[in-house]
């Protein structure tokens, strides 16, 4: 599946590893279950480590280990399943996670912007997606009423000349 980051297609450098497969060299993504079972093997590897969370798995389950990850993948099994939006906010605000947060699964064009606002910064998209569509969708709204995880100044901040509440390096 094509991957978009920073408004452009990028190559996916991570290998998804099934729970029963041998660990390859290089950057890998494992399930939460596998991470919990093999934590002591996975953490000392000196290659980028990613974890895949299904939509019913809160990132709070990662605890302090969250900072070992270069990538946290949030699955959206159906576009209507919006739990991942809250997981992303917990990652960014509560757990202070600064690495990549990737959305995978059933994601609609009109959801990219909301996802970006809650702190998701890479997107697996359907084959055939055009980068112009992505860029256009991300530019459809100029102002935002509420603070989120993207460091954008909300309408409240703009009205009252306040700085943005969050300045996350990881977010756009």
């Amino acid at each position: 599946m094509p991957l978009i980051k920073d408004n452009a297609f990028v190559e996916d450098t991570f290998a998804r590893v099934a729970d029963d497969a041998a660990l390859p060299e290089g950057a890998i993504i494992v399930s939460l279950k596998r991470f919990q079972a093999e934590r002591d093997v996975l953490v000392p590897r000196n290659t980028p480590l990613g974890v895949r969370l299904s939509s019913d798995q809160s990132p709070e389950a990662l605890g302090a280990d969250v900072h070992h990850f270069a990538l946290i993948e949030l699955e959206f099994p159906k576009f209507k399943d919006g739990r991942g939006y809250s997981w992303a906010r917990l990652l960014r605000q509560r757990l202070g996670y600064k690495g990549e947060v990737r959305a995978t699964g059933d994601v609609l064009r009109d959801q990219w912007l909301f996802m970006s606002r809650v702190g998701i910064d890479s997107f697996e998209v359907r084959a055939g997606t055009r980068i112009e569509d992505f860029r256009a969708a991300m530019a459809e709204q100029t102002f935002f009423y509420q603070p989120a995880s993207d460091g954008v100044r909300s309408v409240l901040d703009l009205r009252h000349s306040r700085p943005a509440p969050f300045a996350l390096a990881a977010a756009q």
């Binding site: 209507k80 919006g82 739990r83 809250s86 989120a148």
Partner: protein, 549 residues
């Protein structure tokens, strides 16, 4: 009332442009109906039985004359010359053409209106007390807080794909005119011992398939923390609300399953975390900014009027008694314009009627109209000395029905005449009952009686909280109507009890008449139907109705 600044306007304008593009892609075939569906639903556009239906948001039920005139214009230009006011203080057009909808939205945007979040599993239009700013019993104007919540909830990135739709209602008076306890979140604004505003947050009320009364979850939340508390509640729901079963996905089911206490603990923990970050603290400058839009209009210093002479007109006297309420300022009154003419369709208004009400509001009520959740219109600030002239004008236009809160002031959903979800018609029952009880003296003798009709279990007609509720059901292709008694959407909220087997369409008026007669025979002085019911219980009604069977 609130006026858009450049930020509000830009948000709405961009949305119109975006939807115009989406409609073009649908009409050209680039998008299938399946792909288009979530997009149109984000803009309040439903596909009903016979046509598209567009639901326009009327935030907390407040409209300016200019806005109401635009709604009339749209009804005339793009629809069949009428529209329907709903129990969510919104307005629905029943016959728009898809290709026209972007133009309709552009017309709405030109008067600071939209159809955003009137559909979908997001935070819907915030509703409030239709007497806000005029009622003597309120401690603050709930529209200020409704507007703050409206802005915060608009395009909220985290809460646009909730397990299910989410409705918030706000009141600032001890008398609850906004039915807050049967909302996902109901907010009661009060003043604490030191006269500071305090917000009590009720969570988990609702109607539909599983009617439940909300629990007090947040007590005495401070003004600056209101949004943080709401965000905490929404986050708990978004994480743990059920997504496996459409009918068990509302927050009321979550609260019911984990218990009010556990809900309170979870929200409190989330609230504490959010507060640590501080980003959601509402600045006093913003509260002040919004407050300024809702300051009292320039009321004149007037004495209370003695209307004895005009009251010699019996019809006017009856209307004053039912449709005119006390205003907080001497010499003024709150007028309810009934959209329930005898035999009419509850909540429907013609374009001409909307224009007329808009003009009257402009001239006689500081340019402001309210839509009530009981599907009536309200002029909140009328000089008592203008009441007689106002009534005459309304009456000529079919808007002078003196039945507010009486048995013919019926709430009814659109039912199977329009709605894709309905099991039975509602309008036919409303019309039959309205005709059966048309006699005004009889209605006034019966007194306050809230009769509410839904055409399916989703309960858009609020039947669960009707003193008498009627629910349309389908039995092997035939419409039947189940009756409930003793519901209330007010501060003494309760869910009605099912009386017994359902009735066929033709038998409903007789059945209701028997219930009313039972009440009249049993009532003690000063009792409303609901009071008598609560005193004597359901048994006497049941016996009377099913005795012969």
């Amino acid at each position: 009332m609130y006026r858009y600044d450049e930020f509000d306007q830009k948000l709405v304008d961009e949305r119109v442009a975006q939807f115009r593009g989406q409609v073009a892609r649908r009409l050209s075939g680039e998008l299938t109906e399946e792909e288009f569906k979530p997009l149109r639903l984000m803009n309040g556009l439903y596909l009903q039985l016979h046509a598209y239906m567009l639901r326009v948001a009327i935030p907390y039920g407040t409209l300016s004359s200019r806005q109401l005139k635009m709604l009339a214009h749209i009804a005339r230009k793009y629809d069949k010359g009428y529209a329907h006011f709903t129990t969510r203080q919104n307005l629905q057009y029943n016959w728009p053409k898809l290709g026209d909808v972007p133009d309709i939205l552009a017309d709405l945007a030109s008067v600071e209106m939209h159809a955003i979040q009137t559909s979908g599993n997001c935070i819907r239009n915030v509703t409030s007390d239709h007497f806000a700013g005029a009622a003597a019993d309120e401690v603050d104007d709930p529209r200020v807080w409704s507007e703050i919540i409206r802005q915060w909830s608009t395009f909220h990135p985290e809460f646009s794909y909730l397990p299910r739709k989410f409705k918030i209602a706000v009141t600032a008076a001890p008398k609850d005119r906004a039915a807050i306890k049967v909302h996902d979140i109901g907010i009661v604004i009060r003043r604490d011992a030191s006269a500071k505003l305090a917000f009590d947050v009720y969570v988990g009320g609702g109607q539909g398939r599983t009617p439940l009364v909300g629990h007090l979850i947040g007590e005495g939340i401070e003004a600056g923390d209101l949004l943080a508390y709401l965000e905490a509640t929404m986050r708990v729901y978004n994480q743990y609300g059920r997504r496996d079963n459409l009918y068990k996905a509302r927050i009321k089911i979550l609260v019911h399953q984990i218990g009010a206490n556990e809900m309170r603990c979870q929200v409190a923990a989330e609230f504490a975390e959010i507060k640590q970050h501080g980003a959601l603290t509402l600045p006093q400058a913003e509260i002040d900014r919004i407050n300024a839009y809702f300051l009292d209009p320039a009321f004149e210093k007037l004495p209370d009027e003695d209307l004895t002479a005009q009251r010699k007109n019996k019809a006017f006297a009856a209307w004053v008694e039912t449709n005119v309420a006390k205003h907080k300022v001497p010499g003024y009154a709150i007028v309810t314009i009934s959209l329930k003419p005898i035999g009419g369709i509850p909540g429907d208004a013609s374009a001409d009627q909307m224009d007329l009400v808009a003009s009257l509001a402009e001239r006689l009520s500081f340019d402001e109209i309210r839509v009530s959740h009981e599907q009536n219109l309200v002029l909140a600030h009328v000089r008592q000395r203008d009441l007689f002239e106002l009534w005459q004008t309304l009456d000529k236009a079919g808007l002078g029905t003196a039945n507010h809160a009486l048995i013919t002031d019926i709430i009814a959903c659109p039912g199977l005449d329009y709605c894709d979800l309905a099991n039975a018609r509602s309008i036919n029952i409303a019309q039959a009952l309205s005709k059966r009880f048309a006699d005004l003296d009889r209605q006034r003798n019966i007194g306050e009686l809230k009769l509410k009709i839904s055409g399916c279990i989703n309960a858009c007609g609020h039947h669960h909280v009707g003193h008498i509720g009627i629910l349309g059901v389908d039995k092997k292709g035939v419409e039947y109507y189940q009756i409930t008694l003793g519901g209330s959407g007010a501060e003494d909220a309760s869910v009605g009890e099912i009386l017994g087997p359902a009735f066929g369409e033709a038998d409903v008026p007789d059945a209701i008449e028997k219930l009313v007669d039972t009440y009249l025979a049993a009532r003690q002085p000063g009792e409303r139907f609901l009071d008598t019911y609560r005193r004597v219980g359901i048994q006497p009604f049941r016996e009377k109705l099913y005795a012969a069977h």
